[in-house]
Symmetry: D3
Subunit: 220 residues, 6 copies
């Protein structure tokens, strides 16, 4: 399947989840791919799969000459299948994502947003069921508080280095980033592992010894 | 409209939200009016608008001679349209709000509660849909752990200085306080801005350039 | 009623809640029995009552010779009526509980899980309505990151010392542990206090003076 | 020796230290008597022994009618042999101790100050070698930021409950509080343990097996 | 005296201190001018007075095309009497100041450095007695970890907004920034207040009532 | 020179420092070798170089059957040139190092101690000038609070993975660990870089342009 098609992202969204992806990456030696646990979905059932369009933000202490300049450029350049991935480097001074940006991103074929930082207009985002993951919510706007200083560069999000274009996945457990060099094998093995887990689940539900199950299937 | 009437508070509750209020205050130079993002509503859809009846609490390490004395006096003096606004100054030793206090406050015409601190009896509060905002939930009672030392005085709640009688608003995005001197103009402009945002939303949903929209409307 | 029977746990789950249990223990001088407020239920309505089967975990920085060894032994030894109680001592490196372990525990008659640490597979746990309380959620597995070093020993969970076999209760307000020596009297008085609170609620809903109510009933 | 005499305090100051006092209290089952490790001496060699004159402070958000009222009353009532013990309950908004208060306290026979909070005028305090222990230093004054709400009451300092009149000891390792009921036995055993440690030190310096030493002396 | 001369800075350094400056600014209604208390001098006796040459730093996650570009430009543009004032916005990933930069700054007539962030080469800085204030020390270099994104702009340092050219003062108590509009009056009153404190100190050292002294002199 | 001889460690201690070692490792792509900045030397001038003898500690909540068992075994097995490297995984419940252990370690030829956790008996350790680095100081003993669960295994100390036998270096700037595979080249290049820095220092002290110096020497 074309790894840059909507079908590919939809298929992953439907059948995989972040914990199985994290397990497969662990086995391949990629052990730092899960974002910090305070980056949470805005609503129950939110799930996102797509390619990272990254933005790096920094606190500012005066109104920029052209507020939002780089951010708006990035948003107008969005391609279908992209996920906006943003970091404020730990700053919680203001929200850096909201409902109007979500509306625009959705209209351009963007699949969601992951923010290491705060968001706002949660009522509108939840209402349109646009999958946004963030460290929290605040009414405060970013204008004159935080501004984008670089786009489509490597950034650290929730403690994970995310490369532009990298596949990112978020669900109720949190978010993971899948490095390009192993993406194909990770997705392939994840589909296999999901099948195995379904079997294990059946056996355990029947009251089996968990030690026996772990010996037989090697997964938990 | 009478700025101390139930109709006034209801109208704000129905048509405005905290992010637009924060934006208008930002433009007027009041840039520190949004409370820290960990003060969250207890249930989805909770919204509160009213005048702050403030309480200042402090940790205690022995049982007070008359536990809850000042707090109960304040609660018996509540006027319709008031919102109980409480701070424990960061202490998370015990809950300082609960279901019985909510029942009383509701019976007296109080419109909700904002706590920089913990609450409890969440089951009962959620059940009666009384809008409570807090930094978290714990089963522990405040008796002999925290006590009110002053009422109807200025307090800092979630990093915002709140004056007694000031208009406070809370929704899914968090809470804001609106200083008396600008209340009238803030509310007026917020109604206008909400109208503008509705128009921008339509344009963006149609796939417009976000840079063009920002140039045309000046809002995001 | 047999204090080790399912009926006993069910009765407590149906009629009591953690805040009333905390109040009764406070009155008896047991004032440090409520766990830190960041240990939260995974879904609305989750409630757990049962006897603590404790596990103590520690970070590891290489793959153990036999990963999960002690943990699996404990899980295979679970008795009906037990609740798995786990601490990672503040480590948030990985999830130490998930959906397959929940399936197994449920099959063995376990009544729920309380984790001072992270969990994962929230989708599956929520789906089966198995009551899990934790400090957060992450996709990362514990294998090679955290391992159990002792089972059925005293541990500190959310700041509360929990003895193996001790009654633990969790609901929307959080979790409490009830020391064995006072369990009987605590449960008895809690049933009484619940009845009193119902009466107070009625009086307050009618608009009574809260000072008068506090004088008359002594509870809030 | 008179347990309220300067000779008694001086003797303890000269010959004992906080770690040996903590060990002896541990053995007696008093295991929560050492204050949080961020309460540090202002200068090398600072050491304090005396009876706690306690003050409880709380943040305020307007200028009090009579700033410092209770604090000054306490300071004018100080007896020789007392140590001022203060908590701001975690607030770091301002310094609550300084050089002029130190000068006064020293003139009245006070032996030092322990602050769970910040201090200032460190230059002057260091210069007069008055033993002050605090959580940090700031130039900001407490006037209109923090005020004393009770004196000579039980308070929690660095996580330890301190009763008025209780013996407190601070040195380079930190601070401890010694409950009145065990003070006599603690001091007595501490003198003995110090002697034992001197012997162990000699043996270990000679290159002995530490397992053998621990078996022989039971201390480390 | 010329407020931009070395004599002016020297005089302040010799005779004033940060706590008295903070007090005078408090009285003038400038109550947020003292930096967070974790910004500490690198050695005992370090004191700095001068005009802020500000730098704003941001985390980066790849090697910049020209590392240190803006920083070096600023350093080559330093004027005598300036103090380098830097913020990393809370990032502790690497040191942003060191011994070679200190050597250069000293050679150019710079009077010191205040860093809301980490420094390194403490041995060399201490050895040359160049007054550096920072939030801590680490061996890690900033290259590819943090980079300057703007110079001579308003920045927030330890929670205080610092304007370029503003007078900053640091000593053992911490650091303050003095806004330009009030600089003249602040310095003038501070000299007066220091004289008053010397008198009060004498009176208190004689054992006077502190309440009486506060009534007579109005300072503490 | 023999990389396991006292001469080798002494030479590094005399002529190198942690910041230059961190720089060289950065250039080789080892960018996570500097420990968190809160691990500080106990006294001015403390410096340590040697091979890591690692201990992993965990909180316990009852007295172990044989307290200190593994720890004492490790201490009796110490070889000259070793440095005790300990982590409590963030626990600050008690001190895990003290004066008697220092005396023993020194007697056995151990060169120092690095603790991600607390220490005590600072008076004695400072007095004997034994180089101990720790996250803080407390009088509380570890007995029944923390116990060693593994020795000579890989551990994480201040965020750095340390292998047993790895070279660790600590000075006023903090601590670094040097991975075995690059130790030889790191030490060699560090000696060269120190020479270069001495030259740069001279040029800068003469008032040179820092941009020119950076272009000419490539170091800062």
């Amino acid at each position: 399947m074309d790894r840059h098609s909507g079908e590919y992202y939809d298929e992953i969204e439907r059948r995989l989840y972040t914990s199985v992806l994290a397990d497969v990456m662990d086995d391949l030696g990629y052990r730092n791919q899960t974002m910090r646990h305070d980056i949470r979905p805005l609503f129950e059932g939110a799930k996102v799969v797509g390619r990272a369009a990254t933005l790096l933000m920094c606190e500012v202490f005066q109104m920029p000459a052209e507020p939002f300049k780089l951010e708006l450029e990035l948003l107008d350049s969005l391609e279908p299948g992209e996920v906006v991935v943003l970091t404020t480097q730990g700053s919680h001074r203001a929200a850096v994502w909201g409902e109007l940006l979500s509306t625009h991103t959705h209209a351009r074929g963007g699949r969601g947003t992951i923010v290491d930082g705060l968001t706002r207009d949660a009522w509108g985002i939840i209402d349109m069921r646009f999958p946004v993951f963030s460290s929290g919510i605040t009414p405060a706007d970013s204008k004159g508080r935080l501004d984008v200083i670089a786009v489509r560069v490597p950034i650290e999000v929730g403690g994970v280095l995310v490369q532009p274009g990298e596949l990112v996945v978020g669900d109720v457990d949190g978010c993971v980033a899948i490095p390009e060099p192993v993406e194909e094998v990770v997705i392939e093995r994840a589909f296999e592992k999901v099948a195995g887990e379904n079997e294990v689940r059946q056996v355990l539900a029947g009251g089996a010894s968990i030690r026996q199950v772990f010996r037989d299937y090697g997964i938990l």
